[in-house]
Amino acid sequence: MRFVDTVKTASAGLRHAKVRSLLTILGIVIGIASVMLLMSIGTSAERLIVDQVERFGSNLISIQPGGSSSSRFSPPPAVLGIVIKTLNERDLDTIRREPSVAGVSAEVRGSARVIFENNDLATTYIGVTGEYFDIINLEFESGGRFTPFDDDSAAPVAILGPGLADELFGERNPIGKTIRIKDKTFRVVGVISAEGLGLLGSAMSDMVLIPMSVAQKQLLGINYYNEIAVKAADGYDVEFVKSRIISLLRQNHRITDPDKDDFTVRTQAEALDLLGTVTSVLTLFLTAIASISLIVGGIGVMNIMLVSVVERTREIGLRKAVGATNRDILMQFLVEAIMLSIVGGIAGIALGALLAAGVYVAVTQFSTFDWAFAMPASAILSAVLVASVTGIIFGLYPARRAAQKAPIEALRYE
């Protein structure tokens, strides 16, 4: 039988049982749609993260205390609650003098209650050196930054995250007001804008920034840093600057064995890479889960095809009587299953795109995220491919059953 005739015969078979065909593909439609939706969301999320991180400057380098183990997925020790005191003011000064470095600032973190009038909130305060604002591009809703001079003179000034400002002051303007942190009074000089924060928003929204000197000496009583941020000078390769920092710190810390570094230097690109990998793995994982529904859909196709083969036993017998070979019958039923799956796949892609568009509308409506609609061609292509393969895998068994019917047994079947 010519292939065109096989396709025509198969499509006639499907058309003659429209309702059954539609119900059969429902499983495939749902399976493909959920895979498409997750792949779309994953891609959008990845783009969002990359965009956000790039916004804060791609020439940034971060130094954290404590060495990193060989795996780049293992968290820095600070995250695990281990206090490491290896980064200090001397390191900061050393790096500041390095010609390939445009700017450098340090951070310490602590938690305390912040009080304004009757409002009292548990929060995280970040002590930053005055250069912090030259390195991290923050936007202000009102007021502005403090300067290195404020830091040097231990000025009691504070910059509020948008969430914290909202909770403490409500509708009132916080600029110039006095708040209390750990029995010390601070004057509010700025409020960070929520839009400018992007992805950092959730993390920084409820924090308060104060000068490093105040945080270290008056609130924490320490002389080390939790993090140092470095901005590479224009014209220098970030990787080169990173290597310069590493050798400077090794000198400062008298380290000769690179495996014994007591600090970790990461470029923005590496951080990006890590985030990208994490989202990719997450997307892959979710897609794998969604694929289970595709298998269920495939089993649905197999199930209905088996019923169809039994129902059409006489048709199979007749076709064989008038000259159909086993191969003709096998192909007819296999093509039916594949056509069902491909039609289901295409409908699934459409449904998935629709749902992804719904997510786009919802995210852009209800959040400040710069969410982009993504439906990668590779996802569409693989969906069609997966649907056809599903059709072949789950159509083969019923088709073989059909092909193996003896013509006369099939004709005698009542």
Binding site: E315, G317, L318, V322, G323, D328, I408
Partner: protein, 236 residues
């Protein structure tokens, strides 16, 4: 053309064994109109199925046009059924949701006939059974007699040498049955071999040779000189 020796067909049904054919010898020449008769369960259909390559015998030798069945693969049998044999069944076996045209075209899909020659062949076959005006009607909408004529057109479409019919009038009223028999008779007059299974004597009278089976054996094989022809004879 058809030559079978010592055909045996056994069916195993749940431990018990049924011998449907018991050493049947039969030779049929081109152009014959043979009626296979006998009581229910005597093996008529079984014999027809073997002679028409739908089923293989348990024992015995069968040659069709000089070719030995045992030396042919299943796909070869399908090819011979497609090109050289036509089938008419008691229960029509049409594809109900397909048109008359599509039903008659069916054997051509499994043959090497190029698509552009199909239309003419289908129209000729449908014309031969007088259903040209029903060409695009869905098969399920036809009357019983019309359905059986479509089945005959389908059997004819590849211009076969032999037509096998298993009780083709069994589900029809006598007028439709007579029409069907007349068509078969005409095909026989055109030189085709007709092998008909029937238990109705008046249908058998269209044939020029009667083979009677009983318990899987040939009881008698006769050539009645005179045969009934035309619709007048049918109602006598």
């Amino acid at each position: 053309m058809i030559h079978a020796e010592r055909l045996v067909k056994d069916y195993a049904t749940g431990g018990a064994r049924t011998r449907a054919l018991d050493h049947v010898n039969i030779t049929i020449d081109p152009g014959e109109f043979v009626a296979i008769m006998g009581p229910s369960g005597s093996g008529k259909s079984t014999l027809l199925h073997i002679l028409s390559f739908l089923e293989r015998p348990t024992e015995g030798a069968y040659q069709f046009g000089g070719r030995d069945m045992t030396s042919l693969a299943d796909a070869d049998l399908a090819g011979i059924r497609n090109r050289e044999l036509g089938f008419v069944f008691q229960s029509f076996n049409l594809l109900g949701r397909s048109s008359v045209y599509e039903n008659v075209e069916l054997p051509l899909l499994y043959s090497a006939v190029p698509p552009r020659e199909r239309k003419a062949k289908v129209e000729r076959a449908v014309g031969a059974v007088g259903l040209t005006d029903k060409l695009l009607v869905e098969a399920s909408r036809l009357s019983g007699g019309q359905k059986q004529r479509v089945a005959i057109a389908r059997a004819l479409v590849n211009d076969p040498q032999v037509i096998f019919a298993d009780e083709p009038t069994g589900n029809l009223d006598s007028a439709s049955g007579a029409q069907v028999m007349e068509i078969l008779e005409r095909l026989n007059n055109e030189g085709r071999t007709i092998i008909l299974v029937t238990h109705e004597t008046y249908t058998a009278e269209y044939a020029d040779r009667h083979i009677r089976l009983r318990d899987g054996k040939i009881e008698s094989d006769s050539k009645p000189g005179k045969r009934r022809t035309g619709i007048d004879g049918f109602f006598k």
